[in-house]
Symmetry: C2
Subunit: 155 residues, 2 copies
């Protein structure tokens, strides 16, 4: 567990970069049929009649696929224990099939709990886009254990 | 298309009630392996060591499964054309296997676009819980076409 990150290990200026491979029409339709079956996510012909001009990914699929790399590569080797919510989430423009996303997750605020020594709060801003065009942003807070919270003896 | 809803058809006081069947441990693990593989969502033994005391659903799975009935039964027979973002989202307590959720989606604000006659904005508050215990809430805005936006001739 030596390399696992505690609250104290996230320093000001922390930033994580990621990419999300382009989706196919089939991947967009398959996700949306389960969770968000609006016509512009599941039917290419109907989607053309809307202001999107064609099939676009569900915003929830965008959210999940942008979160996934940060979860696997950062949260999963930390003592994070969930999140109380999302402070702001924006779908800035549609995400079309064939477009690769590039993004980053920045630490924007860090504070220890005032009532409990065992935990702190990290506020992250995730931003992703296609080339220079912003597609998605999410600002949210992660609860994470301090060293004292995991090992009170200090060993 | 006679029964499809335009902006004008959503009236003050609109409310939609829904239920989400209880999840099994396997359903929680299967979703989280794809999108949110934190230890308390994918590993029952590791989850017991955290403050959750056992396996809990990914907050994103809660979000999707609470949105799904509203999407299928309301949005999908309307001229809704997406959402600019989420204004507030709260995970109020963990959702454990075996717990059925009950919830509602209320219309909390309605306004026509000031710059375009073809559309308006509906702000909805989704709230879901187990018995009297709140689990999840989400406040978000849906863009939806007006009658004039779909059929400018008025026919």
């Amino acid at each position: 567990m030596e390399s696992w990150k505690y609250f104290e290990d996230f320093e000001d200026g922390f930033v994580f970069h990621f990419e999300v491979p382009a989706l196919t029409k089939e991947e967009i339709i398959s996700f949306a049929r389960n969770y968000d079956p609006q016509r512009f996510h599941v039917d290419a012909v109907e989607a053309e009649k809307t202001h999107f001009g064609g099939l676009v990914a569900s915003g929830f699929q965008t959210q999940l696929l942008c979160f996934q790399p940060f979860c696997r590569q950062v949260l999963n080797s930390s003592f994070a224990v969930g999140a109380p919510g999302i402070d702001e989430l924006k779908w800035l423009r549609p995400w079309y099939p064939g477009e690769k996303l590039k993004g980053s997750v920045q630490l924007v605020k860090k504070r220890k709990s005032t009532s409990r020594n065992d935990r702190g709060y990290l506020e992250f801003l995730l931003q992703a886009g296609v080339d220079k065009s912003p597609v998605f942003s999410m600002l949210w807070t992660v609860i994470i254990m301090t060293r004292e919270g995991i090992d009170p003896s200090g060993d």
